[in-house]
Symmetry: C2
Subunit: 408 residues, 2 copies
């Protein structure tokens, strides 16, 4: 039905092997032959059969990108940065091109796992997990196990915007046993001896410098690009404190997310260091938002105002929430920043041109995503220890100012 390699070979008057080699471009082929083959390919509009080639070569050109919310620019920016790295840095041949596919988990641990299964089934070349992870004991373990299995199978794993995986617990139950068994089988039967080259090639690629040791040091080869949420949040709160605020509300993100926790912790750290007297009532000043969305901010601000009428500043889990807060405050007749200061987190594009411009913490999402992409492709050497933390930067803008004292 479809055009096959053999068809092209016939047309070009060569063998299928030669066509394959011309297309992958990793084998010497005489110029004339190459030209003839390319012409045949053109004429026949030949397109490689991905599954077949993936099967034969035991590689795939799929790279999965898991995001919590496809409609959130936070993820959109990361995802497109990752995609941007996929087609680059290769010669003419269509080889080397990867297909980045973004999978929308909707923040559900279940579909996260489902997608991983799909990607594993496709033998994806790499998987990039973005955004905050869910802090659930059970899920965390399941996820870690799964990721390590994937990594062991040759899929590169990159975490972007979430903390590194916890080291494998001592429990793991049957899983570990299974794994162990399988490992043994391999060693003896078809394992390393079967295709020492491939295995070796992979190792070499992963650890150019340090090798020699049998044990993969920080090991499993899972790379992490963490965001310094805590530090950024801390600096943000310090900024507010230094402006003179002492009545600072906080609307968090959804519970059980690493990002939510880290940002809140940073906030508390700043309080502890700069205004310990506020710590006692900290919980009173904290509203736990249900999501990283606008309405969460709107409702949170209202709740906060109810609890603390003389509020002079509100911190948000992220920029989107901050915008919701702004809306709520305005609806209550409060001016920003004269009556209440507001600050967000992430520095998404719209924050700079909101009115007033939003004070926030900038995360270099694009850079982080691009780096994640390169790591996923193995085009960049992993950071020492397998973990890199990207710096965050306070962007003090129009939405924060000293408390006017006019209220309260």
């Amino acid at each position: 039905m479809a055009v096959t390699l053999a068809d092209v070979a016939t047309r070009a008057g060569v063998s299928a092997a030669t066509v394959s080699r011309v297309l992958s471009g990793n084998y010497p082929v005489a110029g004339a032959t190459r030209t003839r083959v390319m012409r045949a390919v053109e004429e026949l509009q030949y397109v490689v059969n991905g599954p077949a080639s993936a099967l034969a070569a035991a590689t795939s050109d799929l790279v999965g990108v898991l995001v919590n919310d496809i409609a959130d620019p936070f993820f959109g920016i990361i995802a497109s940065a990752v995609q941007g790295e996929m087609g680059t840095g290769v010669q003419g041949g269509s080889g080397g091109q990867k297909l980045a596919v973004v999978c929308n988990t909707g923040g559900s641990t279940e579909s996260e796992l489902t997608y991983l299964t799909h990607l594993q089934r496709q033998r994806a070349a790499a998987v990039v997990l973005t955004g905050s992870g869910v802090e659930d004991e059970k899920h965390g373990a399941a996820l870690a196990t799964r990721l390590r299995r994937l990594a062991a199978g040759g899929t590169r794993i990159v975490l972007c915007g979430r903390p590194p995986l916890a080291p494998p617990g001592q429990k793991e139950g049957q899983e570990s046993q299974e794994a162990r068994e399988r490992g043994q089988d391999h060693g003896q039967g078809q394992g390393q001896e079967q295709d020492p080259e491939r295995a070796h090639g992979r190792e070499a690629a992963r650890t150019p410098p340090d090798e020699g040791e049998p044990a993969p040091a920080p090991g499993d080869g899972i790379v992490t690009i963490a965001f310094d949420n805590r530090g950024g949040s801390r600096r943000l709160t310090e900024h507010l404190l230094s402006l003179g605020h002492r009545s600072i509300g906080y609307v968090t993100g959804p519970a059980d997310r690493t990002t939510t926790r880290d940002r809140l912790e940073g906030h508390r750290l700043a309080l502890r260091a700069g205004a310990p007297e506020l710590l006692a009532q900290a919980e009173q000043f904290t509203v736990h938002g249900g999501a990283y969305d606008r309405s969460s901010g709107y409702d949170g601000a209202l709740e906060l105002l109810r609890r603390v009428p003389d509020l002079t500043a509100v911190l948000a889990a992220n920029d989107t929430v901050a915008l919701g807060i702004c809306a709520a405050l305005r609806d209550q007749g409060l001016r920003i920043p004269e009556d209440v200061s507001v600050a967000g987190f992430d520095d998404l594009p719209f924050s700079a041109d909101a009115s007033p411009t939003l004070t926030t913490v900038r995360i270099p999402l694009h850079d982080a995503g691009a780096r994640a992409g390169r790591l996923a492709l193995g085009r960049e050497t992993p950071p020492p220890g397998g973990v890199a933390t990207v710096r965050t930067e306070l962007m003090a803008r129009g939405s924060t100012a000293p408390p006017s004292g006019r209220r309260a």
Copy 2:
């Protein structure tokens, strides 16, 4: 290396064929056997090798979703609706589950084609193209050809939110021939007559009855879910006219996009019908925005104000642009809707809780996406003629009101 079907078979004491059948569940297998196999699968943590099975079965479980801007909720909503349909309606077996992968074209025709190549290579089960297409003669032809080839190869094609493909020109031949035609087009310039074909195609699509010809009329199996942008836009303008506005600005979307054109056309149609005297200066009241984003609206509004100081209403290409317009107007000290009315398009979630709530035109994006997903899976019978147009609905809200007369 990885666990294979054969491993499972050995462990379960059956043949590989049996395991395969148990997993795909489309063949009678004795209960006891099935149980044994399932247990072995569990114990070995077996995951099917996608490429191998795709190769053998000549099918794939990939469904591609092409979007113009992954960070825009418009696409996010459609994409997640499509994804939502993927895993549904199947029994226990992991069969039937498809993997919806979203590919971000960034609105570039080039990467649209690149992604299609990738998906063709993967032998994707279906491809859903969302959002406005680019109105470029050359690209349009290339795209149509490509899509038809894909469709011919068994990949289901669904267009969601863009007009149906132009019928295959009499050409289709070699590149050279297309090039020739292009040359002619250039020579003549680009008047309205430039794409008579498309216009005709649309007509035909709208009127399924007229057919009868042997030609595979709606044929190629490519299904379209079009949005009634023109009608919605027209109703929106009618709304403004009926409120008494006579000085109505319009900030368009990016040039050469079907959606941009259709919405503007709807607007002009309403003017022609309801206030023909305004048509003469229509171009004066129209600012051509560069993108469907906020800053495009902000800048557009400023420009409009410069040209037409006594503006009483502004229509935006979409909601995001409308928000930018609102920001600009506010920054100019104008109140909405007292001084100027503003309206958007799409009715994205944030529009309902903006302040003031935004008058807009609702497109059932979720429903449309879900339907596209079902069509892609072949779980819903295509509409007659292969084209369905989803209705749009005027949502009159707080951002529009009668002109106050206070200004101008």
